[in-house]
């Protein structure tokens, strides 16, 4: 197995674990944790392709990861603010009970 393959497999596993957490758990904070894991899996893919691909001196993959980390930090801040606001209104962080907008 080449190093690139093992990096990509690690990233795929991490993405799938994050996706399972985001889809299956009932707590909104665990859903956010799953989303963070998926973002990290994408970052690992960028770094692996930067490292083992051609034109690594252009640093494109690395720059993408830097910007992606910044966007993830902004996303975590806004997401947690939304969860806190939601908890203040309906006193729960359980996504099964947030049904006032469902049809």
């Amino acid at each position: 197995m080449t190093p690139l393959t093992s990096c990509l497999l690690l990233s795929a596993l991490l993405f799938v674990i994050g996706l399972a957490g985001a889809l299956i758990r009932r707590n909104a904070i665990v859903v956010l944790i799953g989303i963070e894991l998926m973002l990290n899996a994408a970052n690992l893919n960028f770094i692996a392709f930067w490292r083992y691909g051609p034109n690594s001196e252009a640093l494109t993959g690395m720059m993408f990861v830097i910007f992606s980390i910044a966007v993830a930090a902004a996303e975590a801040a806004v997401g947690l603010a939304l969860i806190i606001s939601l908890y203040r209104h309906i006193k729960t962080a359980n996504i099964d009970e947030v049904v006032s907008m469902s049809g």
Binding site: G21, I47, M63, A74, A81
Partner: protein, 164 residues
Amino acid sequence: MLFTIFAILTLAGAVAAISLRNLVHSVLALTLAFAGLAAVYLLLGAQFIGLAQILVYIGAVAILIVFAILLIREAEPASPSMVVSSWVGSVVAVLVIFGTMAWAIERSAITQRATGSQAEASMQQIGNALMLRFALPLEIIGLLLTAALIGAVTIALREKGEGR
């Protein structure tokens, strides 16, 4: 060899983060996953990204999640079930997605002709790239971060007319 150790550490942390019942424990496991990933970045020769990962994810995001957990006071879950009611379909979808990705990675020609080039990125190269070629995206990211922080404060602020 080192890569395998750090990969197992990362995956174990990720699995614990989404499966533990106590939310504070699950954030601790999440920091373990982030630290393992930072070590993988260092192994891959991306020193700056590895250190930024430690600073931003462990130092900021994980702490932020801990603060949110303490604010909503649900460290001890009241409900007996941790999973949503429609979890069977989700598990099937997750397995199908992983199968597709693993199949694509195995079949892909890119993984076979990957170069073994020693890609390195010094701080000077990163700074040059950020200040010259990627100057506009850097400014836009700064604007986005400012807007997101103001938005987060506005959303989380106590609304008028709401009792203490």
